[in-house]
């Protein structure tokens, strides 16, 4: 059984936010109007957090692309009163929209703030409906939504592999954000498969898990930025 996971190399990320927009277009996430955006109601399954620290001129910024980290021990699931969210055997934390009653307990419980509530009926002005992806349902008002690891792409990849009478191979199933990243800073695959790129990177000395101390066991793993080391051939240092 695969365990899907993602590795994001913070040394390579340019903070361009292509991942954010690719996710929005892939998953039919509506843009909220300016007034609501000002109230913090933008829905964005993967956001690039700037994380600025220090004072001029001693400043640092660690732009961090943050999707749902698909905790193996997800606090969001425990608080849901109606079992509208669940983790599947492959480790993907999913939202069952039809069951969600919009109480937003999970939104509050997620330490990564990766769950968003639909305050309105989604709006697609003009002909924006033409660009909707038929593989993903549009969420109604009143439910919580979040990153699905582009689960619809897994189904499609499985179908295609089956039709070709072969096993699912590395690279067959890639979420939209990972696929678009212009800097090649994101990797995706089966953490259980020791030969996969993600598994190898997850073992690297630059690897760390966000808010690991909470015991959530995230499956989105970061590689620290490292520093220039005088070009000594050692690669980025941690």
């Amino acid at each position: 059984m695969p365990r899907w996971g993602m590795v994001i190399d913070l040394a390579k990320c340019t903070a361009c936010q292509a991942c954010t927009v690719a996710c929005q277009t892939e998953n039919n996430v509506p843009c909220v109007p300016p007034k609501e955006a000002a109230r913090g109601r933008i829905i964005s399954w993967i956001s690039v957090l700037p994380q600025i620290e220090g004072e001029y001129p001693r400043l640092s910024m660690r732009p961090t692309p943050l999707p749902c980290v698909h905790c193996d021990n997800p606090p969001c699931i425990r608080v849901c009163p109606v079992q509208a969210t669940a983790i599947n055997p492959e480790g993907v934390v999913r939202q069952i929209y039809a069951r969600c009653i919009g109480c937003r307990y999970c939104t509050n419980a997620c330490p990564y703030t990766r769950r968003m509530f639909n305050w309105y009926k989604p709006e697609f002005p003009g002909e924006f409906t033409e660009a909707l992806n038929p593989d993903v349902s549009v969420r109604p008002k009143g439910v919580v939504e979040k990153c699905t690891l582009c689960h619809h792409r897994l189904q499609k990849a499985r179908d295609e592999a089956r039709a070709a009478k072969r096993e699912l191979a590395e690279g067959d199933y890639v979420p939209a954000c990972v696929e678009i990243c212009p800097a090649g800073a994101m990797y995706f695959g089966d953490l259980e498969d020791h030969n996969s790129t993600v598994a190898a990177l997850a073992r690297s000395r630059r690897a760390f898990k966000p808010l690991e101390e909470l015991g959530t066991h995230p499956k989105v793993i970061y590689l620290a930025q490292g520093e220039w080391s005088g070009g000594d051939g050692q690669g980025p240092r941690t």
């Binding site: 390579k12 340019t14 903070a15 361009c16 292509a18 927009v21 690719a22 277009t25 892939e26 843009c31 300016p34 955006a37 913090g40 109601r41 933008i42 956001s47 690039v48 957090l49 600025i52 004072e55 001029y56 001129p57 400043l59 910024m61 732009p63 009653i101 939104t107 509050n108 990564y112 703030t113 509530f117 989604p122 697609f124 002909e127 924006f128 409906t129 033409e130 660009a131 909707l132 992806n133 038929p134 349902s137 549009v138 109604p140 008002k141 439910v143 678009i180 212009p182 800097a183 090649g184 800073a185 966000p210 808010l211 620290a224 520093e227 070009g231 000594d232 050692q234 690669g235 980025p236």
Partner: protein, 792 residues
């Protein structure tokens, strides 16, 4: 290094969401009733067969290739073309947002004709065919009256095939006035011309460079070829490439590029030239420069005597007398030991690239400062070596059709090269008045530092046509607007993007049927040429833009070089073959080439041969000129004198205007990747992400250091006026630790006056910048604007 997520930061980011949870009074019961009503409100998405098309991104000059996912005849997703040598499957957010442009509610549906006045327009819809008829008629009249030269075309792009069509049209029509929009790289290009004598676009071999000194260039914020740049950045940090390259960002503001660099060197605004020359001082006095290159391939390093026996200052004595280490430290505010270390590091980590001075993709820097920076490339032997400064290859197969010239042309005088100079030329009516202006997908009123001058100059032009998808700030002042297609609904082509060395032609057929009554500008010009006949029809004998493109591809075929886009492996194979003198194309005739280009996205020249000195050093001396003889000639010509000063030909620190008591703060407009080049504000995807570092969206903000703000009694989030000698604009102040005390920043790209509600949010900083013509190019730049800021 330990790394902890700061939960407070998270919450601040998601502020609204979190606050909403805490304060919302919606009960569980309330929501579930609401949920019961959901079914009737569901948005249903129609399905259909899936297919893929290739595309060329036209959202910026970056030249990326696209793959477009189609469901039935709807385009539902834009992705990167994995075979395209520029982006290899990746894309920037702007390219992705092209989908919203296609389906945008504010797009022009039909052609529009202004039946009112310019100040008080009354728009009447007409078919694009009727509009085309009007254009032909006007052009015919003008030409018949012997005034062909008074037609001006302002074009959006400089590379690619459409500019070739348009300039060929203008030559055959009889007007020299084909002009393009200025870009942020203009001063840099002028410096390259002054020191290397080449007028092709400069290119940088970023991915093979080991040490990059950026003097305030916003490398990761939409400059040059954005995705190519990001790929190079990624390669610098790829463990597989062996050693990590270093990016040093020298800039007063903590920009995104500064944040992502290996080292950020905060510098006193405008003193980049001094820092570059201070580093040159170190390289020279410690003997760290490339003595072989300097001896073999440069001019003006040592003091020298001209043919008349007059002695001239060389670069070495200039640097040694005026840019000593401690002086440079005092002027720039960068500690002497930092300058020393940077110079030594650079010398030890070649190939080095030095880029600057400060500019972004909209606003150019200063020519002398750019020469100061480029001199480091000369000192460190970075000219035309792998990882160094290259010269962009030209497309083969130019002028395949006879470039039939209009007999009038010799008497017509070119007097503008650049849209920035147009207002002056139009208003002065010298050497002759302009009768007709044709704007190809450009918005100079909004985008030029002298946009206001452009707007008023438009009043002096009797007939103005705009090709535009939206009724933007400039189109709204035209007499006739012909709806231009957006990227996915017409033939698209792209040339070699800025900063890229290898010649590239991207071509793609329409991915979807046009949504509106659009006309491709190429098709418009070709049909005008047909209806005017004569030399025009002879120069452009094509039924439509597709046929024109097809003909250009014939030219590529006859050039017998290059290859169709392929996988990385195929590309390196082709490169290897070409280097060893083989050319093994995947096609055996022009038609096969055309079919393969349509399928794979384009053609390119994968190989570049380094060190062809006669090609990359075309100055008078045939060398890299620290002392520019081209600038000497220019100064002599302009001032009609033989007496010029050495200073006019040597890199130096430009003078910096001082702040005044009335206007104590320096305003530096800044660029963000989503709205780079001033474009993209009409797209919600981009509005949502443009100001993340200051938690802003959908609106302009004023970046101000908290201490500076306090001095002026301004709080975080206050609405403030930003006032210069030219006028004032209003924005919300955002405390930003990355703003240098005493300097404030407004983002470019906001504050359109026309083109739909989304585009018109925020303010345009160009409305209050002071225009200063560059001393060499004469182009309007916007480098020094002092302002005061006060609560509104």
């Amino acid at each position: 290094m330990s790394f902890t997520f700061d939960r407070r930061n998270f919450l601040r980011f998601a502020a609204g969401g979190a606050v909403g949870v805490a304060t919302s009074g919606v009960s569980l019961k309330g929501i579930s009733t609401l949920n019961a009503a959901i079914d009737s409100e569901l948005v249903r998405v129609p399905s259909g067969p899936e297919s893929w098309a290739t595309g060329v991104c036209n959202m910026c000059p970056g030249g990326c290739g696209l793959r477009v996912r189609l469901i039935g005849n709807r385009a539902v997703k834009i992705q990167g073309n994995p075979l395209h040598p520029i982006n290899r499957g990746g894309l920037c957010p702007k390219g992705l947002a092209g989908l919203q442009e296609l389906y945008h509610p504010d797009r022009l549906r039909t052609a529009l004709r202004n039946t009112g006045t310019r100040d008080n327009p009354r728009w009447k819809g007409l078919s694009s065919d009727e509009a085309l008829g009007l254009v032909s008629e006007r052009m015919r009249k003008l030409r018949d009256a012997g005034e062909a030269r008074s037609l001006v075309v302002v074009d959006r792009q400089r590379s690619g095939l459409l500019p070739r069509l348009l300039s060929r049209f203008m030559t055959a029509y009889g007007s020299p006035n084909y002009v393009t929009m200025p870009t942020g790289m203009d001063a840099l290009q002028a410096a390259i011309y002054a020191q290397q004598g080449v007028s092709e676009q400069v290119a940088y071999d970023f991915s093979n460079s080991r040490y990059v000194l950026s003097f305030g260039v916003n490398l990761l914020e939409g400059w040059g070829a954005p995705v190519a740049m990001m790929r190079a950045f990624s390669r610098w940090r790829d463990a597989a490439s062996g050693r990590r390259a270093k990016l040093v960002q020298i800039e007063p503001r903590f920009s995104m590029t500064a944040a992502r660099a290996d080292e950020w060197v905060p510098i006193r605004p405008g003193t980049e030239a001094t820092l570059a020359l201070g580093m040159a001082y170190v390289l020279i006095s410690e003997g760290l420069y490339d003595a072989d290159f300097v001896r073999e391939h440069t001019f003006g390093f040592e003091d020298w005597r001209d043919a008349e026996g007059n002695s001239h200052t060389g670069f070495k004595s200039l640097v040694k007398s005026e840019y000593r280490l401690n002086d440079a430290a005092t002027v720039t505010g960068v500690p002497a030991d930092t300058i020393l270390r940077l110079a030594r590091e650079a010398a030890q980590n070649r190939p080095v690239l030095a880029i600057g001075d400060r500019h972004n993709s909209s606003l150019p820097g200063n020519v002398y400062a750019a020469m100061a920076v480029h001199s480091l490339n000369g000192l460190l032997g970075s000219i035309d070596v792998p990882g160094g400064v290259l010269v962009q290859q030209q497309l083969p197969g130019q002028a395949l059709v006879s470039n039939a010239k209009d007999p009038l042309l010799p008497s017509a005088q070119t007097h503008v090269a650049n849209a920035g100079e147009l207002p002056q030329a139009i208003v002065s009516k010298r050497p002759y008045p302009m009768q007709m202006l044709l704007l190809n997908q450009v918005n100079p009123v909004f985008a030029l530092p002298n946009g206001a001058a452009f707007r008023s100059a438009m009043k002096d032009v009797p007939f103005i046509v705009s090709f535009s998808a939206f009724l933007d700030d400039t189109a709204v002042l035209a007499d006739l607007v012909i709806p231009a297609p957006t990227g996915l609904e017409s033939w698209q082509d792209g040339g070699t993007p800025p900063t890229v060395a290898n010649a590239i032609v991207s071509i793609s057929p329409p991915a979807v049927r046009p949504r509106k009554d659009v006309r491709h500008p190429g098709d418009v010009m070709l049909s005008v040429a047909r209806s005017l006949g004569g030399s025009l029809a002879a120069a452009l004998p094509f039924a439509g833009y597709e046929e024109f493109l097809r003909n250009e591809v014939n030219g590529l075929y006859t050039a017998q070089a290059g290859a169709v886009f392929g996988s990385t492996l195929e590309d390196s194979w082709n490169r290897l073959m070409e280097r060893s003198g083989w050319w093994a194309p995947s096609y055996s005739n022009a038609d096969e080439l055309w079919q393969q280009i349509k399928k794979q996205g384009g053609w390119w020249e994968p190989a570049y041969s380094h060190g062809e000195w006669s090609h990359v050093l075309r100055t008078k001396s045939g060398r890299f000129e620290f002392y520019s003889q081209a600038l000497a000639d220019l100064a002599k010509q302009r001032r009609r004198t033989e007496k010029i000063e050495d200073r006019e030909c040597l890199p130096h620190q430009p003078t910096i205007p001082e702040a005044t008591t009335n206007f104590p703060l320096l305003l530096m407009p800044v660029e963000q990747l989503p709205l780079a080049g001033g474009e993209g504000a009409h797209l919600p995807y981009l509005q949502q992400i443009a100001g993340v570092h200051v938690f802003a969206n959908w609106d302009s903000w004023l970046e101000i250091h908290p201490e500076t703000a306090r001095t002026f009694g301004i709080g975080d989030g206050d609405s403030v006026w930003i006032e210069s000698g030219r006028g004032r604009v209003q924005a919300r102040a955002r405390f930003y630790e990355g703003a240098r005390p005493g300097v404030v920043h407004l983002p470019l790209g906001y504050g359109h006056k026309s083109g739909g509600e989304w585009a018109c949010r925020g303010v345009n900083p160009l409305e209050i910048v002071e225009e200063q013509p560059d001393p060499v190019t004469g182009l309007p730049s916007a480098h020094w604007t002092y302002v005061k800021v006060y609560r509104a």
